[in-house]
Every structure is written in C-alpha cells, then in structure tokens.
Amino acid sequence: MRPPSPSIPEKEFLFTALKQSLRLDGRLPLELRTPILSFGPELGWVECALGKTRVIAHVDAKMVKPPPERPFEGIITIHSEISPMASSEYEIGRPSEEEITITRMLDKVLKRSDAVDKESLCILAGQRVWHLRLTLHCLADAGNMLDCACLAGIVALKHFRRPDVEVIGDEVTVHPPSERAPIPLSMHHTPFCLTFAFFSAPDTAPVLDPSQLEQRLSAGLMSVALNAQRELCVVQKLGGVPLSMDEVLRIVNVAVEKAKELDQLVDARLKEDWLGRNVELI
C-alpha cells in the first residue's frame, strides 16, 4: 500500500519554514547531507548513507565473450533493486514512475557518461572481455535516493579492482589476488548526481538534496550529474515548475562546487580504506 500524501499541517509547516530558509533537519537550503561511505571486506562493496537513506553497491566481474558488434569493449550492466524494504512507496513487480526515473538516471550517470573506460576491459579482442555487474540495493529511502545510489555506484566502481590477466598468444591466464595485485578499473572521470527540489511558491528558494517530505511536497525536481572538472553529463528535469535560464545556470554552478567537495571526500575515503587494507603484493 502506498502511504498517503503528507498531511495538511506537515505541508503548511514545511512551506512556511522554507519561506524563512529553514529546513527541518537544520541544513541550509543548498547544503548536502554529508555522505557516509563504508566499505565491506571485498573490493567493490560500498554502503553509502545520506542521512537515513542507505544504498549498498556491489561490483563483480566475470569474463564473457563480447557481442560481435562491439568486439573491443567490455560490458557493464546495472541492476538496481528498489524493493518495499526501502520504503512502502515501492512495490514489487509494479515499478512506479519514480522508480523508472531512478533506474534510467542511474544508467545515464554511471554507464552512458562513459565513466569507466570500456575498451580497457577488453582482454582478447572478440574473444574475451570483462563483464562488470553493478548491483545496487536500496535499503532505506529517506529522500533523494537517486543521488545516494549514484554516489554508491560510482564509489563502488572506483573501489573495485579486477584480477590481473596475462595474454600470451591466445592463452589467457588469470592471476588470483594472492599472486598479483588486482588492478583498479580505468576511469575517465567521476560523475556525481545532485538533485534540487523546487517549490511552487515564488519566494521559496530551491533546496539541494531534498528529504523525503521535501521531495514529496516539491513542485519539481532537477537532477544534475557532473564531475569535478565542470563537465556536465546529465541534466534531467521532468515537468514541474518552469525555470529561467539564469536559475538553471545558478543551480549548475552550485552543483559544480558540491561535486568538487564530493570528489575530495570520495578520494579521501578511498585512500583511507586502501591504506587500511592489506592486499598481498608480489
């Protein structure tokens, strides 16, 4: 059963608070909840938490034969599992419009933005390529699950290391991690997704990283995916309030700053985890 829409007092209070630039969790309108990244024992296993929103991302790789039309490229598939475990809004077997949006956006941000160099996943042209499978489990939705899932996915890809392979002629040897140090994926860039919520009242400023209540009461969402190098990957705005060009540019500039912060945070956390990890080297 889908939960009913927020009650009248909740709606009115949120709007009056936002008019005074106050948010219920004490954040500033354009403040992100600090993501908490925790890494599992395996490489490529990441749990990302934005407040109470939590997503687990997991990468695994296996060798497959490439499709004949793309013999030099590896394959990446994304499995996003949005179950009623995250929130009673989601139902099994009946994806809502919101779920489809999240799934499509994940595909755009993580796969079609060419974050991972697919050609580096080729082992033997036309014969053997790596097939990366990124699984995203949405554990809890307290708003802005899309950004959380994108962050978890990209961090998992950066955290993952594939086994080293050696090709002599047509012979492929896979070296287990005990023999040779596993190799990180070759990444072109690190896109981050940032979602802004807009409200219908004219004097209400947009908010970054909306909470569940803000998201449900918003008049429209705009998601911007970009990297710290100011390269815009995806801008998505499905209906909602009309925005002027200046407004959109302002939002993108805010997103650039946030993407830089996120990039630093992710790099610091990955480095910290790598130093604490004992990977056997030859």
């Binding site: 009650s7 009248i8 007092p9 608070a17 106050l22």
Partner: protein
Amino acid sequence: MSATTTTTVLPGQHVPAQHVNLKLGPGLLQHSDASTSASPSIIATRAGTLHHSANRAKWWVESNSRRYIPAPQESVIGIIVQKAGEGFRVDIGSAHPASLDGLAFEGATKRNRPNLKIGNLIYARVSLAHKDMEPELECFDAQTRKAEGFGELKGGFMVRCSLAMCRRCVLSALSSYLNYENSNSLDPTYFSWQRSLLDSTHFLLPLLGARFPLEAAVGVNGRVWVNAKDTREVIGIARCIEAVDPDGDGGGMDEGGVVELLRTLGL
C-alpha cells in the same frame, strides 16, 4: 517503569503471568488449548522485553518495530485519507487504514458533524483492534465521553519517530509534563491513558517545556504532533526528538546532548 524485570521473550514463549484480574498488553496472547482442562496459558507474540506492573496484574512486551500494530485504547495520530459515507478512513501507520465514524466525536449529532478534510490530522483513541478486522477510532474519552484533547490537530507539525521512542520515552514524559503545564501560555499537552501504564520520567518534553511554551500530542504509532509559537522552535523540537530517538540520526542522545543541541540552535 514500575517494578520491571528485564526478561527477554521470543514469540511463542510461555509467560508466567497469573493474576485474578489479569490484563494483557501488546505482545501477549491468551492461548487456550481445548485438549487440556488446565488454565489457559499466556504466550508472547512478539520478541522483546517482558514487563509487568507492580501488582503483577498488567503484563506487556516492549519492543521496537517498524510497523504499528493497533491495540485497543492506545492514542494515535492519524491522517484522514478518505471520506467514506458517514465517517472517514484514517491512516494510522498500520497495515490497514482505520475507520473513524463521523459521530465518534464529542457532541457530534447527525446534523452537527465535524467537517474534516482529506489530509487533516486527528488525535484519536483506538476503540477496536482485532486482528481480523480493520481498526476503529474514536475521538472522545472512553469514560467521560468528552473530547479530552482528542480531535483535529490544527497547525503545528507532525514528527515521525520510532515506535520504541514514542512508547518508552515521549509517552512516559507526559506524566512528568503535568508540572510544566502551568508555565505554559498555550494549551496544556494532551494526555493519554498510558501515562499510568508507563510512569517513568523522560527528560525531553519537560526540558523543552521549561524553555518555551509548546503543545504536544503523542501518538503511540510513531507520530508526535508539536506546535509552538515560532517556526524555529517547532524545528528545534523536531530535531530534539530525532536526536533522542534511539533509531534516529542522533542515536539516542542523552540530556546533556540535547541541552547542547538546543544551545547551538539558539533556543
């Protein structure tokens, strides 16, 4: 909590509850076995800690869960989701929506019925909770048939917290909150019958009430309605409840932590 033992029980476990006037609270079930003529045994239906009152007449199981299971005489906060003929359908966070009769208000008659809209918040008492039927609500006290604070909640804000937080912390605060009533210029808080059941004191609402006047209604279904004069104060209350909630972001903040949090909020 009065004279409690911290026994952990699991579903199906036998509970040694015996009294001439035995009252079973949430999480306990009287299990009568037709094959034996012995007195019916009491079993737990939930995992949690077993508690009983001082005279061993009232027994209940305390646990935390995500989904509210209605129990008779509990006060809850509901959202009107539908008008259904004479009455209303109300979301109280349980598996099924509850029904609230249009006449289940103080002084309501066929002619004079409350005009509630979809999305309104109400503070009500569960009058019927049977596992095979949908729960029913009433907006008056069972004994006096007066409103006693039940009814529509106007304005303010509804905070959601964990069920354990509502039951153990906020609700128990109401008994001690009585003392702070006089210092308030706004209406005193609404009370529920459980204040006699859980009589331990919790620091949160008295602490907040001593700083600024506030109104609060605690539903045991994980919802707390609060109101104060200023938006910042309401946000402050909401953040304190979130911080003290053992399931929340603050992870069960203590009194010192809340005082510190209020100081940073400037309240």
